[in-house]
């Protein structure tokens, strides 16, 4: 299978080198894989996710996403718009927009017609089970529903990879499970999922679990779910 993400000796420092968030991270994620990254706060999980997601550039090292060497790309916006879908811990929906409108937001960069944007947004909201909530603003939705809108938004541009940074962190366990099941469903459809979490139970849904500490990947192991499959 193709390698979807490759990082080589990734280093990322902050505050003029005083804080080392990533210290030589090597990671390979195959296309269609579902991995989780675990680790304590400050271990560099989110920093790694931001670099893979083309939100930040590494201080040194190399990242390749879907065959594109990000260090050679001048404008990362396009990479984010076409290849990557983000889901954050806080849903980060625009409060004044309805669920449908929030899902449409990323599509502005794709040059789609208004009609096409609406059609696609409805389709993705149906996919996440919110076809009844199209015209609800975030404050009228439950926490789990909001996170599902955020997932629909991440899907808006049909990305190959979904990066989820503690998407269940603010949810009760039932809503959290629903979100993870949704991610699994997307994975089964062929999307590569990288999930950052604190929660062992959530992590167990992945194919591979990576552990990070002090900016390094310590170990990885196949998740229990994967062992069962094997």
């Amino acid at each position: 299978m193709n390698k979807m993400v490759i990082t080589k000796n990734l280093v990322k420092t902050f505050e003029e080198g005083r804080v080392k968030a990533l210290d030589g991270v090597n990671l390979e994620v195959r296309e269609g894989e579902f991995i989780t990254i675990m680790g304590p706060s400050g271990s560099g999980k989110s920093t790694l996710l931001n670099i893979i997601g083309a939100l930040d550039r590494p201080t040194s090292g190399k990242v390749t996403v879907d065959g594109v060497d990000l260090s050679k790309v001048k404008n990362l916006d396009e990479v984010r718009a076409k290849k990557i879908g983000f889901v954050f811990q806080l849903h980060n929906l625009l409060p004044v927009l309805t669920a449908r409108e929030n899902v449409e937001v990323p599509m502005f960069e794709l040059g789609l017609s208004h009609k096409e944007r609406v059609r696609r947004a409805k389709e993705f909201l149906r996919l996440v089970g919110l076809e009844e909530r199209l015209d609800f603003v975030p404050t009228k939705l439950s926490g789990g529903e909001r996170q599902r809108v955020a997932i629909a938004r991440a899907l808006a541009n049909n990305p190959k990879i979904i990066l989820a940074d503690e998407p269940t962190g603010n949810l009760d366990s039932k809503s959290g499970d629903e979100v993870v099941q949704l991610l699994q469903k997307l994975n089964k459809e062929g999307r590569t999922i990288i999930l950052v979490t604190h929660d062992e139970e959530i992590a167990a849904h992945a194919n591979v679990i990576y552990h990070m500490r002090d900016g390094k990947i310590l170990k990885h192991r196949p998740s229990p779910a994967n062992q069962e499959l094997a």
């Binding site: 931001n50 939100l55 930040d56 916006d77 984010r80 076409k82 879908g85 983000f86 409108e101 937001v105």
Partner: protein
Amino acid sequence: MRFPTLILKNLLRRKTRSSLTTIGISIGIATIVALGALMSGMKSGMEGILKSGEADFSVAQSGVSDLQFSKIAEDRVEEIEALEGVKKAVGAFMTFYPVEGNPYTITWGVNREDLSMFGVNIVNGSSFSQEYELIIGEVLSKDVGKAVGDKLVLGQEEFNITGVFETGSLYHDRGLALSLKKLQEMEKKEGYVMIVYVELEEGANIEEVCHRIEEGYPDLVTIKSVAELGKVDKGLEVLDAVNLAVSFLAILIGGIGVTNTMIMSIYERTREIGVLRAVGWKRKRVLSMILGESMLLCLFSVPIGSLLGFFGVRLLLLHPIVGGLLEPIFTLDTFVRAFVVAFAVGLVGGFYPAYRASKLSPGEALRYE
């Protein structure tokens, strides 16, 4: 959802702040509209004085700061009339007298036989023929409640009203006219007129005649159109400059207000801007969104400011002194100017915040708490 809808919804998120900013800019717009209308009114009034009735152009003393200071010897009128291409030249005197509470009633001194040159049409009674007789404009007649046969005090002297006239020009119709000789005497300027109206012969070249007058009489200046008003009215030029300065101030103050509002807004929305970048928005789109918000904020102020300006001037005119002196004219030009100013304020005021928002690194914006 269309992109402009998103811009509008963002503004409506903070209704109070958006409203207050819009009101701030509206006041600037109102000032521009009000000043513009008053300026148009004054120019139109001046034009009415300079281009009366059948006259093709007028002549005044050169180098005066205000038409009222113009002083031309009466002999000159005959000399101008003798010039080639000139059909008729008529001297007149104009000043202001307080009449029944209106301190600035335009008062003309004209020879009885020259009244037709001014387009004066007597609608009631007859023209003046004696020293202590005068005719009053239709509008003034209604304003002060005086008609043919009534008496009117002008300066220290009492006059009989012999007729009511209309010219079609509101400026003139709010005034009165009496014999040139009497007004010269009252103003102690016997033998002088203030302005000479010139009617050309058919086919005569206006440029040539004006050139001949200005060359032959360096103390005289010709005024063919309202654009040349500055030649005899420095006050109008000063007001024009003041109007321009006020417009600039409005842009500056409005612009700072908009900048402040938009900076606060992007500061609050830093994370959100990070999210927009994370989902693939280019810098240019963030820039368009913020700039769009600031411009929309300013464009809202065009109708509000225009209404404020319109009613503000009306309110100002309720004051008898102002009302008697000024007649605002709301031209399309004034509103276009207000629109352009609002557009400029939005663009200038919004540019820095928009630029700053677009420069945010998406990673840092997302880390922002």
